[in-house]
């Protein structure tokens, strides 16, 4: 195939340097981000912790020494020991096993609520940012109203109205996440749509839906990913808080917040009952925040070196 790179004055063909774009050694954006991310020790330790948590949650039935509600009233309030590493509770259930089973609950709450916020909030934010004008005003003012109500109180009100169970808890916390995503995606979309490639796509006859899905969202993705990771940590805390108040997971479900609440009244005699679920919440949220911060740094081109 004739390559027509010509010298402007002589008309001779110019050689193409053989190093670019041979297709094999492409440095994609993903490679670049991963390279930056790996350098960050805190982010990597958060990542390792998350992978560990994910394995524990998936394999809970095999990893946990006992079931989630194996009551043995003969061994109530056992302190941490060889028999029960993290002790037992007021019904003689192994706390380690319950924490392991509970990791499933907390992680799925985190992912599901964040997904609700991401999909609905993301969609609304993309529409508001892309079209602007009255649609933008309408959507963002509603988001402002939701944001004006303190998140926790909003969730308490919603769960109380709908009835206290896990599904309603996830809806409440998910709805609460919507404005955060709407805002961040709106601003990200607004900056992406200023690029000339959006105009080029319009000139080529692409529809608005096509442009949003193919050009705007992929390019607005980095801040969304960061926000989603950080938000998972937040939603786990809010969900645990609601369960602590009895508005979420109901007994005997080993939700960490509910376990914390159950251990509270025995705190003086059996400190392990409330402490270890609390530690589990802390490390899980910490891991998500470390990964989120690491991603933000890795994806921010201004920090590249």
């Amino acid at each position: 195939m004739a390559v027509r790179l010509r010298n402007a004055t002589t008309g001779e063909s110019l050689p193409v340097p053989p190093t670019i774009g041979t297709g094999r050694k492409q440095r994609t954006r993903f490679d670049e981000t991963w390279r930056q991310f790996r350098k960050n020790k805190w982010a990597m330790s958060g990542m390792v912790l998350l992978i560990f948590l994910a394995f524990v949650a998936i394999g809970a039935d095999f990893v946990a020494p006992e079931g989630l509600d194996d009551q043995q009233l003969g061994r109530r309030f056992l302190a941490p020991s060889a028999e029960a590493i993290l002790g037992t509770d007021h019904l003689g259930r192994d706390i380690l096993s319950r924490i392991i089973h509970g990791s499933r609950l907390s992680l799925s709450i985190g992912f599901i609520t964040t997904s609700i916020g991401l999909v609905i909030g993301g969609g609304l934010g993309a529409i508001a940012g892309y079209y602007g004008g009255s649609r933008d005003q309408f959507i963002m003012r509603i988001m402002d109203v939701i944001l004006a109500i303190p998140g926790f109180i909003f969730a308490v009100a919603l769960v109380t109205a709908l009835g206290p169970n896990l599904t309603n808890l996830m809806i409440a916390v998910g709805v609460n996440s919507i404005p955060y995503f709407a805002r961040i995606i709106r601003s990200s979309v607004m900056s992406v749509k200023e690029n000339e490639y959006i105009e080029a796509a319009r000139a080529l006859g692409c529809s608005h839906t096509w442009i949003i899905l193919r050009h705007v969202i992929p390019n607005a993705f980095a801040p969304i990913l960061v926000q989603a990771t950080l938000r998972i940590g937040d939603t786990i805390i809010i969900a645990a808080g609601l369960s602590f108040l009895g508005l979420g997971a109901q007994p005997p479900l080993p939700e960490w917040g509910a376990m914390l609440s159950g251990g509270r009244q025995y705190l003086r005699d059996a400190w392990w009952m409330a402490t270890f679920p609390g530690v589990a919440i802390m490390f899980t949220v910490l891991a998500f925040n470390l990964v989120g911060d690491g991603l933000r740094d890795a994806l921010d081109p201004r920090l590249k070196n």
Partner: protein, 321 residues
């Protein structure tokens, strides 16, 4: 669409584009009328903010005009609905100034060039599409082995070639070239200008070539229009405009073209002051405040008049001549 082969390909009639700003109404394009004949290159020159890019965008309906018409082969582009607009995309395309922001960084060269073919359902994903993309790359002078590269792996010249290949994908007959070489190194500029000339010969293209200095357009253009603050101030054959500029603003632009002479006759006209704000402009000659030869009688609106055959100028001093 064959009914008006005789007439001009593109015709702008009293085109206005206003933007609302907090300070008032910005008249970006203020009564532009001109035509572009089939197969010719019209150079549109003016300094930044004079409305030349806005004019280009109105032509391909990236913007809606405030008033006036854009006719393409006799059809009013401004009145097209969504489906007609999509069909119109196959006739008129645009090449952008900045080859960095005009290519989606998340798409490979193959995806960028092939996108329009998929959107218009001319091809489906597969071998045929890939071959079509390769032939377009060949037209634009990009090695076909760069087909899987991403824009950030290419230099400015190659990126601009990708932008050109993308614009050619739908086989348009008219291209708006919006300062397509201003962002490129001077050595690359000549290559890209040559490419445009080759493509014009091979594909019988018609160009509106937008630039901010005359030196870029003087070789490639058949006719040149000079724009100042949203208005055409001079329009004529390229040679005429360059060698016999009639408007003082054009004279200043011509004097800014670098020359390799030691002639003492050549003196550069340096315009004083800045371009006045196009927000709520006074209804006198727009160039009055910066004009080196202004007179009191210039303080009134001026029309674009044909003072020599096919040579139009908007200047009070030429009206009586």
């Amino acid at each position: 669409m064959a009914e008006s082969i005789q007439g001009p390909l593109v015709k702008l009639v009293d085109l206005h584009k206003e933007f609302r700003t907090k300070q008032g109404t910005l008249h970006a394009v203020d009564g532009v009328s001109l035509h572009i004949n089939q197969g010719e290159t019209l150079g549109l020159v003016g300094e930044s903010g004079c409305g030349k890019s806005t004019t280009g965008r109105l032509l391909v309906r990236l913007l809606d005009a405030t008033s006036g018409q854009v006719f393409f082969r006799g059809t009013d582009v401004q009145s097209l609905n969504r489906t007609e607009l999509k069909k119109f995309a196959r006739k008129a395309q645009i090449v952008f100034q900045d080859p960095y922001s005009s290519l989606d960084p998340r798409m490979s060269v193959a995806e960028i060039i092939g996108e329009a073919l998929l959107v218009h359902k001319l091809y489906t994903k597969g071998k045929a599409l890939r071959q079509k993309v390769e032939s377009l790359m060949d037209y634009a002078g990009i090695a076909s082995r760069l087909i899987n590269s991403y824009p950030h792996e290419l230099d400015g010249g190659r990126r601009q070639r990708v932008g050109i290949a993308r614009a050619l994908a739908l086989e348009p007959e008219f291209l708006v070239l919006d300062e397509p070489v201003s962002a490129l190194d001077v050595s690359i500029q000549a290559q890209i200008l040559n490419l445009f000339e080759e493509l014009q010969d091979e594909l019988q293209l018609t160009y509106l070539f937008i630039a901010h200095d005359l030196s870029v357009v003087k070789h490639i253009s058949d006719r040149i229009a000079v724009m100042y603050m949203g208005q055409i101030v001079e329009l004529g054959d390229a040679d005429e405009v360059i060698h016999n500029p009639l408007h003082p603003y054009t004279e200043a632009l011509v004097s800014a073209i670098p020359r390799i002479t030691r002639s003492t006759e050549h003196h550069r006209i340096i315009l004083e002051g800045d371009v006045p704000s196009p927000v709520n402009p006074p209804s006198i000659c727009r160039f009055y405040g910066r004009c080196p030869v202004r007179q009191d009688r210039c303080r009134r609106p001026v029309e674009l008049l044909e003072v020599e055959p096919n040579h139009y100028v908007r200047c009070v001093l030429r009206e009586t001549a």
